[in-house]
C-alpha cells in the first residue's frame, strides 16, 4: 500500500473526483425513472404515517422528525445497491481501479453523485413533507439543515457497506444489516436536532456533532471504499 499511497497523493485529486461525478450524474439523468422511484418511495412512506396513526397535532408533531429521518435512512439504503453494483457487473469498476488516477478520489466522485441524486432531493423535500406533521417553520428549517448535514454521511457510510458487499450473494439484505447500525448515530443526532428545537432548545450541539461526523466520514470513507473495491476485484 505504501507505494500506491504515495503516488496517489501526487496525482491530481479534484479532476478525478470531477470525472466520476460527471459520469455518474450523466448516467443517472439518462435513467430518471430509477431516481423517481426512490423519491416517490420517500414521499409515500412519509405520508403513510399520518394515515396509520392519529390525526392529532400533538402526536404528529412528536412523531414527525423521527419518521422523516428514518425514512431518509431507508431511501438512502434503497439506492445504495446502485452505487457500485452496476459498475462492478459491467466492468467499469475494474477499469477505474486500473486507471492511473487515485481510486479514493474516483469513488469520492461517485459518492458525491449518489448524494446529489438521492440525499439532496430528500433534504429539500423534507420541509414540504414535514408540513403534514404539523411542524412549524423553524422546526422544518432545522429538519432540512440536519438532513443536509446528515444525508452526505449516509452516502459515505453506505458506500463503505456497498463496496464491502460487492460480489456477495444476497448482497442487498446483507448491506442493510451492515449499514443500518452505522446509520444509528446519524439518526440520533439528526432527529435530536429537530427535537431540541421543538423543545425550545438550541440545535447547535447536535448539528455540530453531525458536521464533525461528516468531516470524519469525508476523510475516512473514500479510503475504506477504495480498499474494499480492490478486495472485491481480486
Amino acid at each position: 500500500m505504501s507505494v500506491n499511497d504515495r503516488s496517489d497523493a501526487d496525482a491530481a485529486i479534484l479532476p478525478a473526483v470531477g470525472w466520476a461525478l460527471a459520469r455518474d450524474i450523466r448516467v443517472a439523468l439518462r435513467s430518471k425513472a430509477e431516481l423517481g422511484v426512490q423519491l416517490l418511495f420517500y414521499v409515500i412512506v412519509v405520508s403513510l404515517f399520518p394515515l396509520a396513526t392519529s390525526p392529532s397535532r400533538e402526536v404528529l408533531s412528536t412523531l414527525g422528525p423521527g419518521v422523516l429521518w428514518t425514512t431518509a435512512l431507508l431511501a438512502s439504503l434503497l439506492s445504495l445497491s446502485r452505487l457500485f453494483a452496476g459498475d462492478f457487473h459491467d466492468g467499469t469498476l475494474e477499469q477505474i481501479a486500473l486507471s492511473p488516477r487515485p481510486l479514493a478520489a474516483l469513488v469520492s466522485g461517485k459518492i458525491v453523485a449518489h448524494w446529489l441524486t438521492t440525499g439532496l432531493p430528500v433534504a429539500l423535500l423534507a420541509p414540504l413533507l414535514g408540513a403534514q406533521y404539523a411542524l412549524d417553520g423553524t422546526v422544518l428549517g432545522t429538519l432540512m439543515v440536519s438532513l443536509l448535514l446528515g444525508t452526505p454521511i449516509l452516502s459515505l457510510l453506505g458506500a463503505v457497506g456497498a463496496a464491502l458487499t460487492l460480489g456477495t450473494r444476497g448482497g442487498g439484505s446483507l448491506l442493510a444489516l451492515l449499514v443500518l447500525p452505522l446509520y444509528a448515530p446519524v439518526l440520533i443526532f439528526g432527529a435530536g436536532a429537530v427535537d431540541a428545537v421543538r423543545a425550545g432548545l438550541s440545535a447547535a450541539p447536535h448539528l455540530s456533532l453531525l458536521g464533525a461526523g461528516l468531516l470524519l466520514a469525508l476523510v475516512a470513507a473514500p479510503l475504506a471504499v477504495s480498499a474494499a473495491v480492490r478486495i472485491a476485484l481480486d
Partner: protein
C-alpha cells in the same frame, strides 16, 4: 506517448494461482518485451483469465512475482496502472451512454487529450461510425467488443492484456483486431492475450504459453 520511446519488459516469475482449495497453475514463468506478444492457451478452467488478471495487476499471485522494468509490482501498483490496458470479459460500457460518450469518458480518465475526430476515427476503424450516437444498450455483443477495440487504440498504453479478444467478433471484426495488434506490436507495444483461437496477427512475434491444469 509512443511505446517505442522506451524499452518495456514484463517478467513473470514462477506465478501460481489458487482459487479456494484448487490450484489452477504453478510455476508460470515468462518474459514479454517490446514488440512481442504472448499467446496464452489452455482448456476451460486452466486459469487463463486468472493469469491475465494477475498480469494486469488485479489479482495477487498465490506465489511468485511480477516484474515491470525489473521492479517487482504488486496488484494496483501505480507503475503498472500507468502502462496497462486491460480488455477483460466485461465491456466496461455504460448502456445509457453512446459509444462516443463512453470512449470520451475513458479518454478523459486517462488524461489523454484526444481530439474529437480521433474518437470518430477510431469508431470508423471498427465499422461503428453509424452507431456512434446510439445508446450502447441497443448494440450487439460484437459491437460492444468493437468499442473495446476502439478504446485500445485511443488510450495509448504499451501493455495490452486481452482476455478472449475474439469472442463475439465477426470476420471483419477479427480483421480489425489483427490490424490493430499488428500496428501495436510494430510500434513496440506488448501484448498478452488469451484465446481458444489463434490470434489474427503477427505470428512471428508471438510466443505461446500453454497452461496445463495442475495436478490436483
Amino acid at each position: 506517448m509512443t511505446p517505442a520511446s522506451a524499452t518495456h519488459v514484463l517478467d513473470a516469475q514462477r506465478l501460481a494461482a489458487r482459487r479456494g482449495y484448487a490450484t489452477l497453475f504453478t510455476g508460470v514463468t515468462f518474459r514479454v518485451q517490446d514488440g512481442e506478444a504472448l499467446f496464452v492457451s489452455g482448456p476451460n478452467g486452466s486459469g487463463k483469465t486468472t493469469l491475465l488478471r494477475m498480469t494486469a495487476g488485479l489479482t495477487a499471485p498465490a506465489e511468485g512475482e511480477l516484474r515491470w522494468q525489473g521492479d517487482a509490482v504488486r496488484p494496483f501498483d501505480a507503475r503498472l496502472r500507468e502502462v496497462v490496458a486491460f480488455n477483460g470479459h466485461l465491456p466496461a460500457l455504460k448502456d445509457e451512454l453512446t459509444p462516443e460518450e463512453n470512449l470520451a469518458a475513458w479518454i478523459a480518465l486517462d488524461d489523454a487529450t484526444a481530439r474529437d475526430d480521433a474518437i470518430a476515427e477510431a469508431l470508423d476503424a471498427v465499422a461503428l461510425a453509424r452507431q456512434r450516437q446510439l445508446p450502447v444498450r441497443v448494440l450487439s455483443q460484437g459491437q460492444r467488443r468493437r468499442i473495446g477495440l476502439a478504446r485500445l487504440r485511443l488510450v495509448r498504453r504499451p501493455l495490452w492484456i486481452l482476455d478472449e479478444p475474439l469472442t463475439a467478433l465477426d470476420a471483419q471484426g477479427i480483421e480489425a483486431l489483427g490490424a490493430l495488434l499488428d500496428a501495436h506490436l510494430a510500434a513496440g507495444g506488448l501484448c498478452i492475450a488469451a484465446s481458444h483461437q489463434p490470434l489474427p496477427a503477427a505470428r512471428e512475434r508471438t510466443r505461446t504459453l500453454s497452461l496445463v491444469p495442475a495436478a490436483a
